[in-house]
Symmetry: C2
């Protein structure tokens, strides 16, 4: 937590109860959350919590590198914690489509500034979706079970 607050201070932002509550929430959750998820999870905990403030803060925390915005084709807004263990280097993320757990992906072909197919790369988005170990195992167990049943 302290480490994340430091990022806030480093970027000239105030440390407020709201922001601490949001970071705390993401530290508890293992996965990504929508602004609505955040509101529901926090309602009651620290009095009311307006959605506009949540949108604002999620974006600010992302700017500070505390959160990252998960990329989806539909553009649905979801954020997750860029964990302390992820370090400072360039990396991307993989999200489990079942339990929403987040993993760090270090391998990347791209570095902004390099040439790609005749273009000078300015920015790049890489977002992976998959099944984490435990969810993959669950899914396998389930399909094995169904197979057994079908055989009678």
């Amino acid at each position: 937590m302290e480490e994340h607050l430091e990022k806030l201070r480093a970027s000239g932002r105030k440390v407020t109860p709201r922001r601490k509550a949001i970071i705390q929430l993401f530290l508890q959750e293992q996965g990504d959350l929508s602004p609505q998820d955040v509101q529901e999870a926090l309602s009651g905990t620290t009095g009311q919590f307006g959605l506009p403030g949540i949108y604002r803060n999620l974006e600010i925390l992302t700017t500070c590198g505390i959160l990252f915005r998960v990329v989806t084709y539909g553009g649905e807004r979801r954020y997750a914690l860029c964990k302390a263990g992820h370090g400072e280097g360039h990396h991307h993320h993989i999200v489990c489509i079942a339990c929403r757990k987040v993993g760090k992906v270090s391998d990347c072909l791209y570095k902004d500034g390099m040439m790609v197919e005749g273009f000078r790369l300015v920015s790049h988005i890489v977002q992976l979706n998959g099944l984490c170990e435990s969810c993959a195992r669950e899914k396998n167990d389930l399909s094995a079970l169904q197979e057994l049943r079908q055989q009678g």
Copy 2:
């Protein structure tokens, strides 16, 4: 064009004047377009053209592999033509942030089904943004010019 219409037929969709007009538009344009862009470009050309129909058709044409949806952090909706030359193989796209020209990116570390960081990959998004050759040159010329001016 005929090649694109074939994709429509192959997926059991009807070939309508609207769809032809949309494909025609993307063939003329070199870049990506928002639903609004499409409506503006097509208004007048073929009578009225309702936005709901445009949303529907852009999505359908994407399903058929004629268009692809450009990925943005903000989730803004933009589509571009997956050119005939791009072939059938797995590929991604790079878009020029200045002129919106689209290039094909064949190199990709990922193949759905493979293991990545302990996750089984289910899907992946790769979207590059850059400057195409001509726009990069323009930008360089401009900055060179400004440099000269500053030196007096």
